[in-house]
C-alpha cells in the first residue's frame, strides 16, 4: 500500500519540490557571509515597486479607464501608478547592473539570469501598453508612431496598437500575468540555487572557456 502511495504522481511531485525547495530554502534566515552590500536590496526593491504598481493598477481598474481623466482622486492614483513604474524600472536596472558585475549566472544559475532578462523585456512591453492605453494626446502620438515599428515586423497584423481595447487588455490582463509568473519563477530559481558566491581570486585560473 505504501509503495502504491510512493508511486503516485502527487507524492513524487511533493518529494521533488520538498527536495529542491525545503522550507529553510524558501525562507532562509541566514545568508552566506559575502552577502553584505546594498546592491543586494535592489531585487527586493524591484518586487516591492512591482507590488505598488499592481496595487495602484488595481485601484485604477476598479473605476475604469475614464476615471483618472475626470476625477482628481483618479488622477492622483494615476500619478501613484506612474511614479511606482518609474521606481520599478529604476530598481530593476540597478539590480540588472549589479547581477551582471557579480557574474550572477555562474554555478548553474543561467536560468535565473534568463528569467530575469525575459522579465525585464516583458516589463518593457507591459509599460508600453500602459502608455498606449492612457487615452490622451501622449497615447495618440505614441501609438501612431509605434505602429510603424511593430507593423514592420509583421506583428502589427495581430497586435494593433491603435486598438485601445486590445492594448488595455494586454496591459491589465495578459502582460501583468506574464510578468508576475516570470518574477515568481525567477525568485524560486534564486531560492533553489542561492546567491552566487564571489569569484575565487586566490587561485590563478587559466583562460576562461
Amino acid at each position: 500500500m505504501s509503495t502504491d502511495i510512493e508511486r503516485q504522481w502527487t507524492t513524487r511531485l511533493r518529494h521533488r519540490v520538498a527536495g529542491k525547495l525545503p522550507p529553510e530554502k524558501v525562507l532562509p534566515d541566514t545568508q552566506p557571509a559575502y552577502v553584505a552590500s546594498w546592491i543586494y536590496v535592489f531585487g527586493v526593491a524591484t518586487m516591492s515597486a512591482m507590488a505598488v504598481v499592481i496595487g495602484t493598477g488595481f485601484i485604477l481598474a476598479l473605476r475604469g479607464p475614464q476615471w483618472w481623466h475626470e476625477s482628481s482622486v483618479g488622477h492622483f492614483v494615476n500619478s501613484l501608478h506612474l511614479w511606482s513604474v518609474e521606481i520599478f524600472f529604476f530598481a530593476m536596472v540597478v539590480h540588472l547592473w549589479g547581477k551582471f558585475f557579480m557574474g550572477a549566472w555562474r554555478g548553474k544559475r543561467t536560468a535565473t539570469w534568463m528569467t530575469g532578462v525575459v522579465t525585464f523585456l516583458a516589463s518593457i512591453a507591459t509599460a508600453f501598453t500602459g502608455y498606449a492605453s492612457q487615452s490622451n494626446f501622449d497615447s495618440q502620438w505614441i501609438t501612431t508612431q509605434a505602429k510603424d515599428g511593430i507593423n514592420s515586423t509583421g506583428a502589427g497584423a495581430f497586435f494593433n496598437v491603435l486598438n485601445f481595447g486590445q492594448m488595455l487588455m494586454w496591459h491589465i490582463v495578459l502582460l501583468p500575468l506574464v510578468a508576475v509568473i516570470l518574477t515568481a519563477l525567477h525568485v524560486v530559481l534564486v531560492r533553489v540555487r542561492g546567491v552566487v558566491p564571489p569569484y575565487d581570486d586566490t587561485k590563478k585560473v587559466g583562460e576562461a572557456l
Binding site: S37, F90, V94
Partner: protein, 60 residues
C-alpha cells in the same frame, strides 16, 4: 475639499520640457536626471558600508 486640493501636485511638471543637446544626444532634463540618479544609486550601493558587517570590521 481640502483633501482634493492636496491631491493636486505641488510642483506639477506641466511646463514645456527642457532638453539637453550634445551632438547626436538629445535628452530631456527629466530623463537625464533619472539616468544620472540611477548611476549614482548604483555607485552608492557599491560603496556605502552595509550595516550588520560593521561590527565584524571593528573587531578585526
Amino acid at each position: 475639499m481640502a483633501f482634493i486640493s492636496f491631491l493636486a501636485a505641488l510642483i506639477p511638471l506641466d511646463g514645456l520640457g527642457h532638453y539637453l543637446h550634445w551632438g547626436v544626444i538629445y535628452i530631456s532634463v527629466a530623463n537625464f536626471i533619472v539616468i544620472v540618479l540611477m548611476i549614482l544609486t548604483f555607485i552608492t550601493a557599491l560603496l556605502a558600508p552595509f550595516p550588520g558587517r560593521s561590527r565584524r570590521k571593528e573587531s578585526k
